[in-house]
């Protein structure tokens, strides 16, 4: 076995973290390593935590780590924060909330910057999850960047998705909308000591009651979590959250839904990998050969249009492949 892969499978933090970085930085050998690593992945339970900026995702993640550690489960965390569109820099501040677990060998926390990805994660997230799976962590929590209504790439990566809401963000029409409100397996109303909690809970329940009974028979529970500074209540609430997630996990396994979700995850992975294999080299060759400039000129002068150009390129590309 490759030395790095061996180390990662033995739980080596340095090797794992370095490979995640190689994936982020798109080092060519990262792909080679992932190929070798892949056979050792797929055994962890993956939880997605998503919601608006400041909703409390990191604090809840911290509380969930504690709950899972009480059950002697090892935990990996990927926490995503935004990259500046201007400088390419980023402040990765999620782990501030999780530092009490920093020196616990059973916990691995890695921050990722979005680096321009728009779906709430980073392009590297999928493979970074694989690296943590190979480390043998029982549970992986993926915390998305603070999101709005439809940055929902998380559904292609997590088995169970927790959507974190806070009171005071709008009326019941918001709960009817597509996107974020549809992807929750468990809802959290966080900061549930604040005014508007009752109203949000009523609106969410009526939205859920109106939804056609989900084909799979799971009705997302709503967990209220109070002020994080009222430690005793908060701990009770987050323990309840951990239980609901576990219930969903059992449900997935018993109903056969887990297999279906794995299928969706794998399809998304193939699509990503195809993109990397086809699109990236194609774009690169178009740019480096100067073809891109000529085509752009043609389109700008209205001598052609983007669809015709794309069709020509694809046709030529596949002809070349056939000749090979």
């Amino acid at each position: 076995m490759d030395a790095t892969i061996k180390k990662i499978c033995a739980g080596d933090v340095r090797a794992a973290s370095r490979l995640i970085r190689d994936i982020e930085d798109k080092r060519p050998d990262a792909k080679v390593k992932i190929k070798k690593l892949y056979a050792h992945t797929g055994k962890s339970f993956i939880i997605g935590i998503t919601g608006a900026p400041g909703a409390g995702k990191s604090t809840l993640t911290d509380a969930l780590i504690s709950e899972f550690r009480k059950l002697n489960k090892t935990v990996g965390v990927l926490a995503v924060d935004p990259t500046s569109p201007f400088t390419g820099g980023a402040i990765l501040g999620d782990r501030i909330r999780m530092q009490r677990h920093a020196a616990d060998d059973g916990v691995f926390v890695r921050s990722l910057a979005t680096r321009g990805a728009l779906g709430g994660l980073s392009q590297a997230a999928g493979n970074a999850i694989h690296v943590i799976e190979a480390m043998g962590k029982d549970i992986i929590i993926v915390e998305t960047v603070g999101i709005g209504q439809q940055e929902i790439d998380i559904i292609n990566h997590a088995h169970s998705v927790v959507v974190v809401l806070v009171p005071g963000m709008g009326d019941e029409i918001q709960t009817m909308k597509a996107g974020l409100m549809e992807i929750a397996d468990v809802f959290v109303i966080n900061k549930a000591n604040r005014p508007g909690t009752g109203q949000l809970q009523t609106e969410l329940s009526s939205m859920l009651n109106l939804s056609p009974k989900t084909a799979d028979g799971w009705k997302p529970p709503i967990v209220l979590v109070g002020d994080a500074f009222e430690r005793a209540t908060f701990d009770e609430n987050t323990a309840e959250l951990a239980r609901k997630i576990e219930e969903h996990h059992c449900f997935l396994e018993q109903s056969g839904q887990l297999t279906e979700r794995m299928h969706r995850k794998v399809m998304a992975e193939i699509k990503d990998a195809l993109g990397a294999c086809l699109m990236e080299p194609l774009m690169q060759s178009l740019i480096s050969s100067g073809e891109m400039g000529k085509l752009s000129e043609k389109i700008k002068n209205r001598k052609s249009d983007p669809y015709t150009v794309a069709e020509d390129i694809t046709e030529k590309f596949f002809q070349k492949q056939v000749k090979k």
């Binding site: 340095r14 500046s84 920093a102």
Partner: protein, 133 residues
């Protein structure tokens, strides 16, 4: 292939809760195009060293205003070396008397920046001296 992005961790070891300076630096590093992991206040050297390795940073910047730098800064370097991560550079700043500086350099701290240092000069120092992993 894209270039390695510089990853930096800004950490506050020990008991002082004054992190204005650390936050200003974190912002400044962000604006320089680095990815900056900020740990917040009240960190033990053990937490800092473990986090630095989990995050695969090139550099740890320590800020201490309480006077405990003589004990805390060298301990971070020591722990990183113990964990086979001696290649992660450690720099420090804060209220650090001049006579303590040589001792800190001897312990393996790569640079000490005291109050009044221009932000740009710290960024320049990093770009010049830090080799990404």
């Amino acid at each position: 292939m894209s270039e390695r992005k510089i990853r930096v961790m800004v950490a506050k070891p020990g008991l002082d809760g004054h992190d204005r300076g650390a936050r200003i630096l974190a912002r400044c590093f962000r604006d320089a195009g680095f990815e900056v992991v900020y740990t917040g206040c009240h960190q033990t050297p053990e937490q800092i060293a473990a986090s630095a390795i989990q995050e695969d940073v090139d550099l740890v910047g320590l800020s201490c205003l309480s006077g405990a730098h003589r004990a805390l800064f060298p301990r971070v370097v020591e722990l990183l070396r113990e964990k086979g991560a001696g290649d992660i550079a450690v720099i420090g700043g804060g209220i650090i008397p001049e006579q303590d500086v040589p001792m800190l350099y001897e312990s393996g701290i790569k640079a000490i920046f005291t109050p009044g240092t221009a932000l740009d000069s710290i960024v320049e120092w990093i770009k010049k001296n830090i080799k990404t992993h």
